[in-house]
Amino acid sequence: MIGYLIRRVAGAGVVLLVLSALIYALFYLAPSDPAILTCGKGCTPERLADVRAAMGLDDPIWTQYGHFLQGLFAGRDYPAGPDVRHCPAPCLGYSFETDQPVTALLLDRLPVSASLAIGAEALSLAVGIGAGMLSGLRRFRVLDRVVNGLILAGYTVPVFLVGLLLLLLFCVHLRWLPFPGYVPFTTDPLLWAQNLLLPWVALAVIQSAAYARLTRSGLQETLAEDHIRTARAYGIPERRILWRRALRGALLPLVTLTAVDLAAIMTSAVLTETMFGLPGVGQLLVGAVNQIDLPVVVGVTLLTGLLIVVANAAADLLYAAVDPRVELR
């Protein structure tokens, strides 16, 4: 187990380093110069050269990457006018666009994205598993059909349409909810949930479709297994069989999917974030890409990668915890 974790962590480290190097290379190949954007309209070539030097962009790309690694592991000093700014390890540098420390930016936006992702995932799971069970038990044929249709519809409808519809319905016409914005959980849990409700629903409409589908097929498969027959032969009530035995096996595949989705929402739900006024990681990333804000792009990418790797590892561990047969390898 410990050995497994060590191997996993080492693997993840390699993946993340390769990822950051890849992004540096891509940006180097791309025909764009962040200094021009920073320098502003009417920037003269002389001024541009000065700005580029101040941003450290006049070094060769590998030196820049070397500096990045140095910052990551040992911290780094940046000249900043009258004094020097010290950025302690793990230093991801300062945003080209806003001059904010990238680590602070990430830490600032992570709670927003986490709130969005965790709530949406919880809701999606609840709805998806519920719907999947209803249709998987095949007690209600019509319901099965309906759920199936909805599942498909959920896949196709783009999130911005769902979002807009929800806003129009609940905030404009019914006025049951205020237009969402982000309120930290620590400030007011109730307001936090109230504000996040619509984005959660919007994402759940799409996510739960997949979960329902998986639950449905998983349940049908598990219910046909021998040990369920044993339980029946020993007079264990259906309800108990369903909750204690069948669901456990049926929901296992959901674990991996949930983990990956969780990471995905945290890092790439740009449209949802913008629509619902949530300053999350996704917005940060897209803004940074458009502004060639290399440090932020690398920072967010590393975070994304870390989240996905961690999510996958967590899924595997959870898998092993839920299913005693699974061995970690």
Binding site: L26, A30, A153, T156, G305, V309
Partner: protein
């Protein structure tokens, strides 16, 4: 086998719709000509400029000339744009999905059949692909390739290169279980090489899960194409794509609901058809499901 497929009502419906979509894509110029329209001509006279450029008349300007109305802001014929849009949307999505499956299955099987180190290496590669932020990479990749490369093909390739991780993961997992089956050992005893084992013994076992996955990958890829087009790195104007139309429809959501409705409907139908076809194929390709006995 064909007979079995023909008996599957879902498959037939799906196949008909899918074939219809492909037909629409192929015959787009013909269809547009039939409607007497093309997808580039502006009709400023059909728009209410003071109202931001919404089509004049109800239902997005539907008329005898413009069967599905016109595009707000430009007045281009919506029917023509939808049928031409099928070319890009269906084309890019199908090509990207195909490439993804090809890549993913190859790497997945290689990882599953390979030894400890091959598996570890390929698994990390899969992790890498899975953790790459698609949007960032796609934008950067598309920015560095020359302008005159064929855009739709490029889109398909980029989407595939960044998106084969899921398929690979599934393929690897399945391969790991399949390789313990005795028929794999049997093939080895008869002297089959690893390549042959992969092709003859493992691959057939992968069809069902991969088909299911691919059917869902397809709409995802359509959405990715839409996003990239929306961000300006996708297909070039005036070439239409459904995804692009859908994304630009957000602003017209209330002012011209028809503009959202038609591409959304087509997208839904396409997905439905592919899921139905995949389900049907899976059922037929699995000989055990044909004779229903448990």
């Amino acid at each position: 086998m064909i007979r079995a497929l023909r008996r599957d009502r879902g498959f037939v419906v799906g196949a008909v719709i899918a074939a219809g979509m492909v037909l629409v894509a192929v015959t787009a110029p013909l269809l547009a000509a039939l409607a007497g329209q093309d997808y580039t001509t502006y009709h400023d006279d059909l728009l209410d400029s003071a109202r931001g450029g919404v089509p004049i008349g109800s239902f997005g300007g539907i008329s005898g000339e413009h069967w599905l109305g016109v595009e707000p802001g430009t007045g281009r014929d919506l029917f023509a744009r939808l049928v031409y849009g099928a070319q890009v949307s269906v084309g890019v999505a199908v090509a990207a999905t195909f490439l993804e499956v090809l890549l993913g299955v190859t790497v997945g099987i290689a990882a599953g059949l390979g030894g400890r180190w091959v598996d570890a290496g390929l698994s990390r590669l899969i992790d890498l692909v899975l953790s790459v932020p698609v949007l960032v990479m796609a934008i950067s990749l598309l920015a560095i390739v020359p302008q005159d490369w064929p855009r739709p093909l490029l889109l398909a390739a980029v989407i595939a290169i960044l998106g084969w991780g899921g398929t690979a993961r599934i393929s690897r997992g399945e391969t790991l279980t399949l390789r313990t089956r005795e028929y794999v050992a049997a093939a080895q005893v008869s002297g089959a090489s690893w390549g042959r084992v992969a092709r003859r013994e493992i691959l057939p076992g992968l069809t069902a899960p991969i088909l299911t996955y691919a059917a869902l990958l397809l709409p995802t890829n359509m959405v990715v194409e839409a996003g990239l087009s929306f961000l300006g790195v996708g297909v070039r104007p005036p070439t239409p794509s459904w995804g692009q139309m859908l994304s630009s429809a957000t602003t017209w959501f209330r002012a011209d609901p028809c503009y959202v409705f038609f591409p959304a409907l087509l997208l839904f139908l396409t997905l439905l058809s592919f899921v139905l076809v995949a389900n049907g194929l899976r059922r037929v390709l699995d000989p055990r499901q044909r004779a229903v006995l448990r």
